[in-house]
């Protein structure tokens, strides 16, 4: 399991290659990347600053990864979350899951994203043309996470 909270960008192909190495047993690789959007609601986003809780951020990402590995037979897992100043179009987060079968890889990646949204200690501040503000948490995100309780 590769976990990283970092300011630098990531390279999806390189990260996929790291999980594949020379393995020939993987049947399915799912990657999710989340990016900064240029619009949020009715506001135009110029920049975004991602604040994080150092050390704890990676610990929480690891915990979420371990939860996913307990639930699905994953062969490999990478979670990278950026912090610092980002612009629209920039990468924020990358989750890659590999498995023998596709449903495990798909579901685990969704689960990790849903948990990460509410449980990883990162906070977004948006710079818009009307000034800057901290992004509020969405009850939607809680609902997305809670659907995995069943």
């Amino acid at each position: 399991m590769r976990i990283s909270a970092q300011s630098e960008d990531f390279d999806i192909s390189l990260e996929i290659e790291r999980l594949k190495e020379n393995r020939t047993d993987l049947g399915a690789i799912v990657s999710f990347s989340g990016l900064v959007r240029d619009i949020h609601g009715d506001k135009i986003i110029k920049k975004m600053t991602l604040e994080h809780f150092p050390v704890m951020a990676e610990k929480e990402l690891s915990k979420i990864g371990e939860l996913a590995k307990k639930r699905w037979p994953l062969e490999g897992l990478t979670i990278i979350h950026r912090y610092g100043e980002l612009s629209p179009g920039d990468n924020i987060v990358l989750v890659i899951t590999t498995s023998h079968h596709r449903s495990a890889a798909f579901e685990a990646a969704q689960f990790i994203m849903d948990w990460l949204k509410t449980d990883a200690p990162f906070w977004k501040k948006e710079q818009t043309e009307q000034g800057e503000h901290w992004v509020g948490a969405k009850t939607d995100d809680d609902d997305q996470k809670n659907r995995w309780d069943k």
């Binding site: 989340g34 604040e51 809780f53 200690p121 990162f122 977004k124």
Partner: protein
């Protein structure tokens, strides 16, 4: 006791961390928040909405009834919005 603040709570309080000595009658996270709110308007603004407060004691998420002691590191922050 070491306190660290993040995001809007950090901005409202006006600092990212501080050392305080815990009064004897403050033994839980909830009591800590109430105590901090007596220290000034900046703390009151930061903690005015209790549903927008999250805490971690020694890097583990806890609720407002969690016991605390002087050696703990307490982080206080709004709900997370990463991803």
């Amino acid at each position: 006791m070491n306190l660290i603040y993040f995001a809007l709570i950090r901005e409202n309080i006006g600092k990212s961390s501080e050392q305080i000595t815990l009064p004897n009658n403050v033994t839980t996270t909830g009591q800590l928040i109430n105590y901090l709110m007596t220290l000034g308007d900046n703390y009151q603004a930061a903690f005015s909405q209790s549903d927008l407060i999250r805490l971690a004691v020694n890097q583990e998420y806890v609720n407002l009834d969690h016991p605390i002691s002087d050696g703990d590191e307490i982080a206080i922050f709004p709900p997370m919005t990463g991803g």
